[in-house]
């Protein structure tokens, strides 16, 4: 994975699989620290599974016995002078967070957040997603509930709507960055 936004997409997919009705993705850049948090109200994990979830030989899928998503993210965070944490409660939800030192030589670029969010939006069904992006004191919030309110009976995964959502996020992320290349 060359971009952190790809890890974000990958990990957020776990929330969709956990049947979360609300997924909150928060990306914060502040004082040389990049933080991302993915919080969901999905099925959660029991303690036994949670304890081995960073092991690459733990997975819920049946096609094979490896699951690389979480171990990869943990490795990248630790390589970049940051930390990885995951908390979960069965029936309540899961929160995954990772931090990265902004100026660390091993920190991958953030990459295209808009492309990742759009890919997630198509997978939501009736669930919702709140994406919050902030750089220092600038902040942008994208909430699919607001989009749905405007859409009425048009499905959110309609390609024309997706292109619009992508442009909207792209523009606002750029404004939030304020000329910074993250």
């Amino acid at each position: 994975m060359r971009e952190l936004s790809l890890n974000l997409l990958d990990i957020a997919e776990n929330s969709v699989k956990a049947k979360a009705t609300l997924i909150e993705i928060t990306v914060t850049v502040k004082a040389n620290l990049l933080t991302f948090v993915i919080k969901d109200n999905g099925c959660g994990m029991d303690e036994a599974f949670l304890a081995k979830v960073t092991d690459p030989f733990t997975t819920t899928r049946t096609t094979r016995k490896v699951g690389m998503g979480i171990p990869l993210l943990k490795m990248i965070a630790e390589m970049s002078g940051g930390e990885f944490a995951i908390t979960s409660e069965k029936g309540v939800g899961t929160t995954t967070s990772a931090t990265f030192q902004l100026d660390h030589i091993n920190r991958p670029p953030l990459g295209d957040l808009a492309d990742s969010i759009v890919a997630l939006v198509t997978d939501l069904g009736d669930s919702n997603l709140i994406f919050t992006y902030s750089v220092e004191n600038e902040k942008f919030v994208f909430d699919t509930r607001e989009v749905r309110a405007e859409l009425e009976d048009i499905p959110m995964d309609n390609p024309e709507i997706l292109v619009f959502i992508r442009d909207l996020i792209k523009q606002n992320v750029e404004i939030t960055n304020g000329g910074l290349n993250i």
């Binding site: 994975m1 790809l6 997409l9 990958d10 997919e13 699989k17 899928r61 096609t63 094979r64 699951g67 690389m68 998503g69 990869l72 295209d112 492309d115 990742s116 759009v118 890919a119 198509t122 997978d123 607001e146 989009v147 405007e150 859409l151 009425e152 009976d153 048009i154 995964d157 309609n158 390609p159 024309e160 709507i161 997706l162 292109v163 619009f164 992508r166 442009d167 909207l168 523009q171 606002n172 404004i175």
Partner: protein, 123 residues
């Protein structure tokens, strides 16, 4: 700057198209991109976004782009599966943005399967 309120204008335009669409008998064509860890790291996200772009640009009203998890052949990712109603599933492998454009123009628009990108016994 774009705002969510602009969706209203797109919606109104679409609602008129949907009435037309409901009158036709055709089913929906689905393009499914494998987007688990393996697919994403092989480059599935730009493929997905290119497909969305092409479908929107060409105004293909009965085509849906969706994503799936691991399709089971990680080394052949990015994989795109095409489901055209009444036809057998077609699986394209090692797709990139350029290939995605060709799949849309040749397969989805003109109805010719792009044989160059199919799974062969040599892979």
């Amino acid at each position: 700057m774009k705002s969510i309120a602009e969706i209203k204008a797109i919606r109104e335009k679409m609602q008129s198209q949907i009435i037309l669409r409901e009158n036709s008998e055709e089913g929906e064509t689905r393009l499914v991109v494998g987007m688990a860890t393996c697919g994403i790291s092989a480059g599935a996200r730009p493929v997905f976004n290119t497909l969305v772009d092409e479908v929107a640009k060409r105004n293909l009203s009965k085509v849906k782009v969706t994503r799936a998890g691991c399709l089971g052949m990680c080394k052949l990712e990015p994989i795109v599966e095409v489901f055209v109603p009444g036809q057998e599933k077609v699986t394209y492998i090692q797709v990139d943005s350029e290939k995605a454009k060709r799949i849309i123009s040749e397969h989805i628009v003109n109805g010719n399967v792009v044989n160059d990108y199919l799974i062969t016994s040599e892979v």
